[in-house]
């Protein structure tokens, strides 16, 4: 692997950028690996990297149906934060956020990780009560959170509508200053390059079509590029978890819904933090390219179409304009949708499945991107040792039948209620 450095960039510039080598190989699948990770998104590639780096498991393949980072890794709104309310999620996402903070250096890849702050706005006394309670809980867990007055919010985000007749009056906010955004594609590329350098085979255009079973145990996978044996197989295909697990006869507590986002034309800097809300479902940031990035609620019915309904775009756009009236002048550049694994408590699943040798990482709902590094570390631990890391233990697949759900939204077992 050719390392990136200021000197390497300068030299490449003088040479007309013509001599950069491939970032990762394009290997043919071998006949057997110690671990196969199905899914070449951020989570799968991170898992492979930590398997090789932390656990010394070098015989690893990542099988990707299409191209790496082409699913939800390339479709999210790139927000990174750990200010959740449920303690299990706080531990998981803080573990992830701490990894984000040094990740660009570790991977020698610029992830453009920008801790620009993530603000939840409060629009009523009730909102502020909830935000204060969440902030206290976060600080008790050692996670940064600061309650903000209306005036402090106005100073930090001058573009907000603070007029007396604002559609969404701002009473104050709760900020996590360590929150922010990262370049989503770079996460997949950075992990793929670093994993490849450690000997991991990143195999694209290789769809898993079935499992090889011996005596009830998974011993490999059938793919469009032939059969591949494996010691352990990890599913890591959030959005299609049910389809892949279904190849092994499993049914999961997951429905596939879709989540939409859109970006405006690029403009000069107008927003240097991430704006979210306790009451409404629009979250807004500005990309480094200058586009306003806006996301909203899921569409609330099962679909794999990756094609959202205009109803939701209208709703999210109206809320975004209600918060930041200046956005009404912007043209929408493009909109898209990703298929999300909606689990039945809104929290992810990382753990063994009832089929021996087969493991699951999925159910990330609409919050998977921020968890990418933590999820990779925890899943690598599981695939290397066969046991769940203590942070991942609460996220086991059997928590549903035990009634030990982790319900951040308090919405019960209905994905469309989140």
């Amino acid at each position: 692997m050719k390392r990136f450095s200021a000197l390497a960039l300068l030299r490449a510039g003088l040479e007309g950028q013509k001599r950069w080598p491939r970032h990762w190989r394009d290997p043919d699948p071998r006949s057997h690996y110690d671990v196969i990770v199905i899914g070449g998104g951020g989570h799968g590639l991170a898992t492979a990297y930590y398997l090789a780096k932390t656990h010394g498991v070098r015989s690893v393949a990542v099988l990707e149906r299409a191209w790496i980072g082409g699913g939800n890794t390339g479709r999210n709104t790139t927000i990174v934060r750990s200010n959740y309310r449920q303690p299990q999620l706080q531990r998981l996402l803080e573990y992830s956020l701490k990894t984000w903070e040094t990740l660009s250096d570790e991977l020698n890849y610029n992830l453009m990780f920008s801790q620009r702050g993530a603000v939840f706005l409060g629009h009523s006394d009730a909102d502020m009560g909830k935000l204060a309670e969440r902030g206290d809980a976060l600080r008790c867990a050692g996670i940064d959170a600061e309650l903000m007055s209306r005036e402090a919010v106005a100073r930090l985000i001058p573009v907000l509508d603070m007029s007396p007749d604002a559609r969404f009056p701002v009473f104050g906010g709760l900020i996590q200053k360590r929150g922010g955004t990262a370049r989503h594609d770079a996460v997949a590329w950075g992990y793929a390059r670093a994993a490849d350098a450690l000997g991991v085979d990143v195999i694209q255009n290789c769809e898993v079509t079935g499992f090889l079973m011996t005596g009830g145990r998974v011993t490999g996978v059938k793919t469009t590029r032939g059969e591949i044996g494996a010691g352990r197989v990890g599913i890591c295909v959030a959005g299609s978890s049910g389809l892949v697990a279904g190849l092994a006869g499993l049914k999961l507590p997951i429905e596939s819904h879709l989540l939409q986002a859109f970006v405006s034309e690029p403009i000069k800097p107008m927003l240097d933090t991430v704006v979210m809300s306790q009451s409404i479902h629009a979250y807004i940031s500005q990309s480094d390219k200058g586009e306003m990035v806006v996301g909203g609620d899921p569409d609330h019915y099962p679909t794999y179409s990756q094609r959202g309904s205009p109803l939701r775009i209208e709703e999210v756009a109206s809320q975004a304009i209600g918060l930041i009236p200046a956005m009404s002048r912007l043209r929408m550049l493009r909109c898209w949708a990703g298929t999300t694994d909606m689990s039945f408590d809104g929290s992810p699943i990382i753990g063994p499945t009832p089929v021996e040798g087969l493991y699951l990482n999925g159910g990330w709902c609409y919050g998977g991107f921020k968890a990418t590094p933590g999820s990779g570390r925890l899943y690598a631990h599981l695939l290397a040792t066969g046991n769940s890391h203590e942070i991942a233990v609460p996220f086991s697949l059997n928590r549903f039948e035990r009634g030990a759900t982790i319900d951040e939204a308090g919405a019960g077992p209905a994905p469309q209620a989140r």
Binding site: P253, Y301, Y304, F344, P413
Partner: protein, 88 residues
């Protein structure tokens, strides 16, 4: 965007309707805890045609059974639920 042909009201915009759950996830009242966990939490989640329970929430408020494709959103049947006269 879907156009859903309510058997009572005629073709109406998707915005009037709410998805409830797939038909195989409806809990009988006398179910055991084990069956309830299986029915609620072990889902087919198909990519293809699926039988689903919807409600015409902002219309006649009737419960409806839709047969709908989860990839193309094609709807091949919209019938009242429970089926009239069967009690089921």
């Amino acid at each position: 965007m879907m156009l859903i042909a309510c058997p009572h009201c005629g073709p109406r915009a998707h915005v009037e309707f709410a998805y409830e759950r797939t038909m195989d996830a409806i809990l009988p009242l006398d179910t055991t805890p084990e069956d309830a966990a299986r029915i609620l939490y072990q889902r087919e989640n198909p990519r293809g045609f699926s039988d689903e329970l919807w409600r015409h929430t902002h219309g006649c408020r009737a419960w409806l059974r839709l047969t709908r494709h989860t990839g193309t959103h094609e709807i091949t049947a919209v019938v009242p639920w429970p089926a009239v006269g069967t009690g089921a």
